[in-house]
Symmetry: C2
Subunit: 504 residues, 2 copies
C-alpha cells in the first residue's frame, strides 16, 4: 500500500533542516522490497577497502582498471543496498548507471531465474532472426508490447543502448532513402554503388544531435554524442550537424522569461539547420534524415527542457520530413514517474522511434509502422538481443505493476526532491539547481573538483553515487527506492555538505 510522501518525516537523528513533516514513517507502509537491510554500513577506513584494492590490482594485470569503484558481493546485496567484498554496505542511488530496475536479488527475479521453464533460455543463445524460441512472441507480448509507447507498433530487440541507437539510425536512413525512391526497394545501381561507398547507394545522410547529448560510443552514435571530450577524442567521426540544447536556470519559476528565450534560441538553431538542409545546391552536404534527443540529457549533466520545447522539436521534425528519435536508454523504465519520460510531453504526434536499454535489460527500439523494414537482413546481427534478458524484464514489469512502483517513484521522488531543495537552501554555496522528475534527480556543485570530492565523500558515508556533466550529482536509484531510503540518503548528503564545508 502506498502512502503519499507528506505523511513521512526523515528518520534522522540529526535534526535535519528539511525535516518538516511531523510523523515518523507509518508502520502501514508496505516495503517495496522484502527483507532489506535497515541501512548503509561502512566498515573499512577507505573506499575501496583492502579486498577491493587487491582485486583491482589483479584486474589491472588484465586490463585498465582505472574506473573501478569497488568489487561487489552481489549475492549479499539486497534491494537498494549494494554490498562490497569488504563488507561495506552502500545505499545505492546510482543503480548500476540507471540500469537496475527493482533492486538487487528481487525475489521475483530469483524465482524467474530458477524456474525450470526458463532453463532452456539460459542454456543457449539463439539467433532470434532465424530460429527464435517457441515462446518468443509470447515473451515480447508479455513485456515490450505491454509498455510500448502509443503509436509505435514495430518492436525490435537488440543488445545494448549504443547498439539500439545505432540500429535506430540505420532504420531512419533506410526509411529516408525509401521515401526518396517513392517506396521502392534499392535499385541494382544502388546496390552496386553501396559496395564502393559511392552515391547513390551510400548516401550522404546525417542525424542531427544536440550539444551535451549522449547516445553511446560506437562510431555512428558517438558522432551524435557531445557530452565529454574523453568519450570522443582520437576517434574519427561523421561530421553531422549539432544544435544547442537549452541550459535552463533554476528554480524554474524565478527564470521563466530567460528560460523561454533560451529554448526559443535553440529551436531557431534547429530550424536553421533543417532549412539549410533543404538547400539542394550543396549536394556534398550531409542531408539530415533524423534528429535524436534525450528527454533529459543524462551523461551531459542532467539537462532538462520544457515539454513545450520537445513538442516544438517534434513539430519541426515533422515539418521538415526528418525522423524524430527519442533516446530513452537512460530515462526509460519508470524512474521519472512515468514509464517513458517522453510521456510527460503529452505529444499529439508520437515520436517516430524510441530507443531503450538499461533498466529493461535488453536493448531495442520501438518505431512507427512506416519504419518497418520491407526487406529482411537489413537490421540484423547474429543474436538480435537475448531472450535471457526478457526473463528479468518480465519479472520487473510484473513487480512494477503489482507493487505500483511508478506511484512509489513519484511519491519518493517528490520527497527526495523537496529534501534536496531544502539542502540547497541550507548550503546555497554548495548545492544548486536541484532538478528532475520522479527519482530521476540531480543537483550541481560549484565546480567539477568539488563535485568529485563530494561524490567521494558520499561513498565514504555509504552512498553508491555517480556524477554527470561537469559538476552535477545524479540520482538513479532503483524503482524500489522509498521515502525511508530517501531519508537515509538526505541524512548522508547533509553530512557530506558539512564535511565539504569544514574542509574549505
Amino acid at each position: 500500500m502506498l502512502v503519499s510522501a507528506h505523511r513521512y518525516s526523515l528518520r534522522s537523528a540529526r535534526g535535519l533542516v528539511w525535516k518538516r513533516h511531523a510523523s515518523t514513517i507509518p508502520s502501514t507502509l508496505t516495503p517495496a522490497f522484502p527483507d532489506e537491510y535497515d541501512g548503509a554500513l561502512i566498515v573499512t577506513e577507505r573506499i575501496p577497502g583492502p579486498k577491493s584494492t587487491a582485486l583491482i590490482s589483479r584486474l589491472n594485470e588484465i586490463q585498465n582498471s582505472a574506473t573501478i569503484n569497488f568489487f561487489a558481493d552481489y549475492a549479499a546485496s539486497r534491494g537498494n543496498y549494494l554490498v562490497d567484498v569488504d563488507g561495506n554496505r552502500f545505499l545505492d542511488i546510482y543503480g548500476q548507471i540507471a540500469s537496475l530496475p527493482i533492486g538487487y536479488n528481487h525475489p521475483a527475479i530469483l524465482d524467474a531465474m530458477t524456474d525450470k521453464d526458463n532453463l532452456a533460455v539460459l542454456a543457449q543463445r539463439p539467433c532470434l532472426g532465424l530460429f527464435p524460441p517457441a515462446d518468443w512472441v509470447d515473451r515480447i507480448e508479455n513485456t515490450l508490447t505491454k509498455v510500448k509507447p502509443a503509436g509505435l507498433e514495430d518492436i525490435n530487440t537488440l543488445m545494448c543502448g549504443s547498439c539500439s541507437n545505432e540500429n535506430a539510425y540505420k532504420a531512419v536512413f533506410i526509411w529516408y532513402q525509401t521515401k526518396l525512391r517513392g517506396g521502392h526497394p534499392p535499385s541494382t545501381f544502388d546496390m552496386e554503388t553501396s559496395m564502393s561507398h559511392k552515391l547513390p547507394g551510400t548516401p550522404n545522410l546525417s542525424i542531427l544531435s544536440f550539444q551535451g547529448g549522449f547516445h553511446g560510443r560506437l562510431l555512428g552514435c558517438l558522432s551524435t554524442t557531445h557530452s565529454k571530450p574523453i568519450h570522443k577524442v582520437d576517434i574519427p567521426a561523421f561530421d553531422w550537424p549539432v544544435a544547442s540544447f537549452p541550459r535552463l536556470r533554476y528554480p524554474l519559476e524565478a527564470h521563466q522569461a530567460a528560460n523561454e528565450a533560451e529554448e526559443a534560441r535553440c529551436l531557431d538553431e534547429v530550424e536553421r539547420l533543417l532549412r539549410e538542409n533543404q538547400d539542394e545546391n550543396g549536394s556534398t552536404k550531409a542531408h539530415i534524415a533524423g534528429m535524436v534527443v534525450e528527454p533529459i540529457q543524462a551523461e551531459g549533466g542532467d539537462n532538462h527542457a520544457s515539454p513545450a520545447f520537445f513538442r516544438s522539436l517534434r513539430a519541426l521534425a515533422a515539418e521538415y520530413g526528418v525522423a524524430f528519435i527519442v533516446d530513452e536508454v537512460q530515462t526509460g523504465g519508470g524512474s521519472t514517474g512515468k514509464f517513458w519520460a517522453h510521456e510527460h510531453w503529452e505529444l499529439e504526434n508520437p515520436p517516430d522511434i524510441v530507443t531503450f536499454s538499461k533498466k529493461l535489460q535488453t536493448g531495442g527500439y520501438f518505431a512507427k509502422e512506416e519504419f518497418r523494414l520491407n526487406e529482411g537482413y537489413r537490421i540484423f546481427n547474429t543474436w538480435m538481443g537475448d531472450p535471457a534478458k526478457m526473463i528479468s524484464l518480465q519479472a520487473y514489469l510484473e513487480v512494477l505493476d503489482k507493487d505500483q512502483l511508478l506511484e512509489n517513484t513519484r511519491i519518493t521522488g517528490e520527497y527526495l526532491q523537496t529534501g534536496l531543495e531544502q539542502l540547497s537552501e541550507r548550503f546555497p554555496s554548495l548545492i544548486s539547481n536541484v532538478r528532475g522528475q520522479g527519482t530521476y534527480l540531480a543537483m550541481d556543485l560549484p565546480t567539477e573538483g568539488q563535485r568529485n570530492e563530494f561524490v567521494s565523500i558520499m561513498k565514504s558515508l555509504g552512498l553508491a553515487a555517480g556524477g554527470c556533466g561537469s559538476n552535477a550529482v545524479r540520482f538513479r536509484p532503483a524503482l524500489v527506492f522509498q521515502p525511508r531510503h530517501a531519508a537515509e540518503c538526505l541524512d548522508k548528503l547533509e553530512q557530506a555538505c558539512e564535511i565539504l564545508t569544514q574542509r574549505r
Copy 2:
C-alpha cells in the same frame, strides 16, 4: 576416447560413393554428447511447418519476420539436433550462425545455469567497469585468460561481435594518436577540437579492410564490411581504403601458381594503399591506423588465403606502423581444429588485436600491451559485457578440454571434408571448391539460385543449414559434431544432390 576418422565408415544404407572405409563406427567411440537423438526426423510436409508458420504470422505483427527459418523448441533440442515447434528434428550444421559451442542443452551448461553459486550473476547485470562482481577476475582467469592468444595480455569483454570490432577500432585509433603524440595523453586542444569534430581532436583515420570481408553492421564496422549490398545500401559510411582479398581456385594443389600470383596481387594492393597513406601531402586523406582481416572470410563466401599470405599481411602492417586486427568472431572457438584460426599461420609476431564473440557467448578483444588504455572511460559503456555469459563460456571451455573437442573437430572435419570431396567428384556440375579447416567447411553450388534451392532441399531433408557469399553452403556445426553426424549429413547431402539433379 577419440579414434581417428579412417576407422569409421558412413552409417548410410544408400551405398554412398564416399563410403570407402570398411568398418562401421566402433562401439569404443565415446559420444561427445550424452543421450543425443539418433538422427534427424522430418514430420511436416513443408518447412516451416504449420505451427512455425502461425508464429511467424504473429511475429510479423510486431516486426519484419522475413528471415525466420522456423521457431525452435529449445527445451526439446539436444546436442547436434535442433527441434522445431512442429516436432521436426534437424541435424544442425549451422550452429546458430557458428555461435553454438557444445550443442543444445549440454549437461555441463545446464549444471552451471542451475548452480546456486551462479544465481546472483543471473539475477542482476552489473556495470563491469564500475562495480564488478567479487569473482570477476577469477571468471576471466578461468575462461578468457586460458585461451588468450600468445602475446596478447590485455583482455576486454564487450557485448557482441560488432561491438567488439568497433571497440577494437577505437583502441587502434587511440593507440595511433598516442604514438603520434609521443605517448602523451590528449592535449587540451585535442579535447576541445574533438567536441566539434575538428582536427586534431577528431583525426581523419581509417581502418583498411578487404573486399568480401564482414566485420559487423554498426556504422564503423559496416564501413569495413564488403560482403553483400543488402548489409550496406542506404547507410552512410566512412570512405576508408579497401583491398582485394585472394580468390583461390580449388583444388589448391592443381592451381598453385595461379593462387600464388593471386595472393601476390592482393599483397601488392595492400602495400600500395599503405605506401600512399604515408604521403603526408594529401592531408585530407584518411590515414590508415589499422587493418582488419578475417582468417576465413565467412559471410563473404568462406574465402581462404594461405598462411603465407597472412604472414605477409602481418609483416606489412608492422612495416608501415599500422595495427593488425584479426577478426575471429566467427572463426574463433575451435571449429577450425585450433582454438583460434590464426594459430594455423604460425606467426612469429602475433596479431596486435584479436576480436571474438559468437561461440564464446561474450564479445571482446585481446590486445598487445601497447594497446592497453592509459586513461579510464575511453573504451567504456554501461555493462562492458555480461558475466552471465561467462558461466556458459567456462562450462564450454571445461568440456572442450575434458572431451578433447579440438581433436574431435579435426578428426570429424577431415572425415566430412573427404566426404564432401567425394560428393563433388560424383556431382561435379553441382558441387565444387570444397574447402576449409576442421569442421569449418564450405562448398560452392554453380549459382546463387541453385545454392538457395539446395539449402532449401537440405532443410526439407532435416539439415539446419545456411549459405554464405553468393553461391556457397557453409558448415558450422558445434564442437560435439562427430563422424556419425558427418555421415548422416553426407547422406542427406547426396540425397539433396540427387533431388536437385532430377529437377534440372
